[in-house]
């Protein structure tokens, strides 16, 4: 979900995905880099992400990932599910 969310704003390469998640979470959620790529590839094979090779800002060949239509749908479904779940947890904790 976090990976999908990171890509919601536009195509990124793997390194940036990790960076973005780290930055947005206020350095709380550090993505295990070794696990990131298998996750990205799994999503790609599930058809939630598409990839293409491009040239990065520093002129290197890099693989960019972007959300597919199916990916966007999946993200919407997962974030509403997450909102429901986290809201519930929050309410329980407030009691």
């Amino acid at each position: 979900m976090l990976v999908l969310k990171a890509l919601a704003r536009g195509p990124l390469h793997g390194y940036d995905v990790a960076e973005h998640i780290l930055a947005w979470s206020g350095d709380v959620l550090k993505v295990e880099e070794g696990a990131l790529y298998p996750a990205l590839h799994r999503l790609e094979l599930r058809g939630l992400l598409a990839s293409e090779w491009g040239v990065s800002a520093n002129n290197r060949r890099a693989k960019y990932y972007r959300l597919t239509a199916a990916g966007k749908k999946q993200l919407a479904a997962e974030s509403s599910e997450w909102a429901r779940l986290s809201g519930a947890v929050a309410r329980v904790m407030e009691v």
Binding site: Y15, E33, G34, R42, E44, G47, W53
Partner: protein, 891 residues
């Protein structure tokens, strides 16, 4: 899921690019780390190699990849031992090929549906009940319910069915007939199927060329037309397209060919492929005495119906039953059968009319058990060879296990090897299957010629693949399990030699050898049985002089001859061929002797009571003058039938000894009378006077005893069909064949001479089944014995290698070379002995002990011992030549 498959499929073809992409992506990431965070170490990233492995696995079909790798490895291993591979593939090919051949024939006869539209809707209409007709044709069989059924109806009943049983969308009637065809200058006999006009449309068969018969063609007075089979088109008309539209003469009547039936459609009776399809309305014109459209008491039309969608068998039976009940009211004979009324029976019709099912099944059963045995032997043999290989590869396997290969992984690897062998074997087997299946068709058909659509189609292919797969598992699984159950430490320590004594592997090997010997002996003994039967039959005295006899068939009734004119034709032919130089005597008869055909009649013999109220009966043979003298059947009393026994003269007969023994208590029957009638008060016109008694001669088959036989002059009976001529020759019989052809053609060009052969050939033909069986079972027996010998050799050779040390010690301690040789031989012979003992057991379970011919078994056993001794002798000699010094130094 689909996306994943698509992406991975694409990746499969771009392996190198995938590798590079994975590499690049990770490299990029590491580069970014360095650039942005200045981290040069890979700490926090994890094992790059492992990640890459993980990614690669995601992108590839792992199972397929490993399988592919295993396959390549297996191919390499097999190439390294070409001898083993060759033996394995060849034995599998023979086993699998033979099984495929049998399958394709069984499939064509029993399993396959007719090549028509929705064959599952077809039903065959049959009847049961107490003798509702004067005569009927068609088959009698015991169906699953055990009742006797018959398949033919009067044409009238067919019409009533067609008009008033709405549960069938189409009811097709048909009947077989032999006809004489004149096409151009040439005349020949052909098999015709008389069919109702809706036959082709009802079945849903479309023509290959031209058009099909229609109900319009099947009206009285319609222009006579015919469809021809593809085979006939090919054989007689050279596949020429102008054959369609051509006029031929069928039994003298001009008929126009309007279309060709597609090659896959061979009629509705598997095995009998008609040449011509004629509209049933032509029956009257063709002069076929048996087939009368207007006789309600003669049943000759077979019926097949297509069930209307939504209608079921019960409804259809009710509909047919109602018609038959009404019909029965009109017939005295059918009214009488109150206890067992005339009623319908329905059978599935998808496979066509199964006249072959009963006839060919025993042969096919024997053949399929034989080929099953051969395949089993091949499997046992391979399992054995693989076991030996497994032992030889113990070190390799132990090494692989110790560096972390899983046992399952190794088993899979070994099974892949088996699969590869089975694959090659199956492929080669498929190539063997085509010619083999033709042999099988001949064997299954026996004396009658079968025409079947046997070709290796997708079903046969599937069958072969399945057999190959099962075979691979059968011979591969056990050795694979055994080979990978290795105790690592000793296996790694050991050299190529190995320990003393017997290991579990060897025990299994010995058992397998014993099993192979048992099965091979069984096959050889079976072949011996057939050979003995054949020899016995060949030495049987038929009771007449079979040498120097030329026989041929003529049927003038199908060229327009009838009554006195027909008899006149036959007499003219007899006189003319008798005058040919080299012919000593000429006669004719209703059927050829030893041809499997016969006719028999119920008779009444005054003064003969009969056993348990059964009426006596006799085989009858219609003959021309001097038949007995010409055939060399010795006369015991009275006279032969001669020129005085004409139509108007008193009816006379010559009977054989068995007849006299059975019905006149062995007294001289000459001068006595009997009646061709089964009633209490036989009409005087059925009376026959016996004027002679002859010695017994075989009638229909060599293996049957001579039945009570009556020889009657054909001039004194209402003979209306074809006859067989017998010429006693001074020259070799076939030398005058041409002169006979010319002589008959001079009398009438339109009367063809058929089946010119010698009497000896005729007899040989009826032994075809036995001959083929002996050949097929015998050759498979030899193959099986050979396989067993190879297996024995393999095991013993391996055993000697293993025991080099032991043998060396024995020799060093003073054992003679002969002793060592005998030791090895003895061990092999033990296996053979065990196998022979096992034969007894297997034989009992397989065949229910019946064909227990001790001579065959002893001969087969002896042969097996000899073969085994030869196979074991080579390793035994090698054992004896072991140099004790070198053997001991090996340690």
């Amino acid at each position: 899921m689909l996306t994943s498959l698509r992406l991975r499929w694409r990746a499969l073809w771009k392996r190198r690019q995938l590798e590079r992409d994975l590499e690049d992506e990770l490299a990029f990431h590491l580069a970014m780390r360095e650039e942005r965070r200045g981290e040069t170490s890979r700490r926090g990233f994890g094992n790059v190699g492992l990640v890459k492995e993980d990614l690669r696995d995601q992108w590839t079909f792992r199972a397929v990849e490993t399988f592919w790798r295993d396959l390549r490895y297996a191919a390499r291993m097999l190439r390294r031992s070409p001898g083993f591979t060759l033996v394995a593939i060849l034995s599998l090919a023979i086993g699998i090929g033979a099984n495929t051949a049998i399958f394709s024939v069984v499939d064509a006869i029993v399993l396959k549906s007719l090549p028509v539209r929705n064959p599952e809707e077809l039903r065959i209409v049959l009847w049961t009940g107490e003798r509702p007709f004067d005569s009927h044709s068609g088959y009698n069989t015991d169906t699953r319910s055990g009742i006797r059924v018959s398949s033919s109806f009067p044409y009238e009943t067919y019409q009533q069915f067609a008009a008033s049983v709405p549960q069938f969308s189409d009811l097709m009637g048909f009947a077989s007939s032999q006809v004489t065809v004149i096409a151009g200058a040439e005349s020949h006999y052909a098999d015709a199927e008389l069919v109702t006009g809706n036959f082709f449309s009802g079945l849903g068969v479309t023509p290959l060329g031209g058009r099909t018969l229609t109900p319009e063609d099947d009206r009285p007075g319609a222009a006579p037309v015919a469809m021809i089979s593809y085979r006939y088109w090919e054989r007689r008309l050279g596949l020429k397209p102008e054959a369609i539209g051509r006029m031929i003469f069928v039994n003298g009547q001009p008929v126009t060919i309007i279309g060709v039936v597609p090659p896959a459609f061979l009629g509705v009776q598997p095995g009998a492929a008609p040449d011509l399809f004629l509209p049933m309305a032509l029956v009257g014109v063709l002069g076929d005495r048996w087939h009368d459209l207007h006789d309600g008491d003669t049943a000759w039309v077979q019926i097949m119906g297509r069930l209307r969608p939504g209608a079921n068998d019960q409804q259809a039976m009710a509909g047919l039953g109602a018609v038959m009940q009404r019909n029965s009211l009109a017939s005295k004979r059918r009214r009488e059968g109150k206890k067992d009324p005339w009623r319908p029976v329905l059978e599935e019709g998808a496979g066509g009319i199964q006249m072959l099912r009963d006839g060919a099944t025993p042969s096919l059963l024997v053949l399929s058990s034989v080929v099953g045995l051969v395949l089993l032997i091949a499997c046992a043999n391979l399992a054995n060879l693989l076991l030996a290989r497994g032992v030889a590869r113990r070190r390799e396997i132990a090494v692989r296990l110790s560096i972390g290969a899983g046992r399952w992984r190794l088993i899979r690897q070994l099974l892949t090897e088996s699969l590869l062998l089975a694959g090659f074997g199956g492929g080669l087997g498929l190539a063997l299957a085509a010619p083999l299946s033709r042999v099988v068709v001949n064997v299954a058909g026996g004396a009658q010629q079968l025409i079947l659509d046997v070709h290796l189609d997708s079903r046969a292919l599937l069958f072969t693949a399945a057999v190959a797969l099962v075979t691979a598992l059968l011979f591969g699984l056990m050795p694979a399990f055994r080979a990978t159950r290795v105790d690592l430490t000793p296996a790694l320590k050991e050299g190529a030699g190995g320990g003393l004594g017997s290991s579990p592997q060897l025990r299994v090997s010995r058992l397998l050898i014993a099993g192979q010997v048992a099965l091979s002996t069984l096959l050889l003994a079976g072949a011996g049985l057939f050979v003995r039967t054949l020899i016995n039959l060949s030495s049987v005295d038929p009771g007449f002089q079979a040498r120097q006899l030329l026989i041929f068939n003529v049927d003038g009734s199908r060229s327009g001859y009838q009554g006195d004119k027909l008899v006149g034709l036959y007499e003219r032919i007899r006189e003319k061929v008798a005058a040919i130089p080299g012919v000593r005597a000429a006669t004719l008869s209703g059927v050829a002797l030893i041809s499997g055909s016969m006719s028999s009649n119920t008779i009444t013999v005054p003064g003969y009571k009969g056993k348990n109220g059964q009426s006596p009966d006799t085989y009858t043979m219609l003959v021309g003058r001097h038949f007995l003298a010409t055939m060399g059947i010795p006369l015991i009393a009275g006279r032969d039938l001669g020129e005085q026994d004409r139509r108007k003269a008193p009816r006379v007969a010559v009977v054989n000894e068995t007849f006299a023994r059975n019905y006149f208590a062995g007294q001289n029957p000459v001068g006595r009378i009997f009646y061709f009638d089964d009633g209490k008060n036989p009409p005087p016109e059925s009376q026959v006077e016996i004027v002679g008694m002859c010695k017994d001669a075989k009638y229909d088959w060599l293996k049957n005893d001579a039945p009570p036989t009556t020889y009657l002059s054909y001039l004194q009976s209402n003979m209306a069909w074809g006859m067989t001529y017998e010429l006693r020759t001074a020259l070799p019989p076939m030398a005058i064949a041409g002169a006979v052809q010319r002589a008959v053609a001079e009398i009438d060009r339109n009367v063809p001479v058929a089946e010119m052969r010698t009497q000896e050939e005729q007899i040989r033909m009826t032994l075809g089944t036995e001959r083929m069986f002996a050949g097929v079972v015998g050759s498979f027996g030899v193959i099986a014995a050979l396989l067993a010998a190879i297996g024995l050799y393999g095991v013993m050779a391996y055993n000697v290698t293993r025991r080099t040390n032991e043998i060396g010690i024995r020799l060093a301690l003073g054992a003679g070379r002969g002793d060592v040789q005998w030791m090895v031989l003895r061990e092999s012979l033990w296996m053979v002995a065990a196998g022979l003992a096992l034969t007894k057991l297997v034989q009992q379970t397989l065949y229910g002990v019946k064909p227990n011919d001790p001579a065959s078994f002893v001969a087969a056993g002896a042969l097996m011992v000899v073969v085994a001794a030869i196979a074991a002798w080579i390793p035994a000699r090698r054992a004896a030549r072991v140099d004790p010094m070198r053997a001991l130094r090996c340690e």
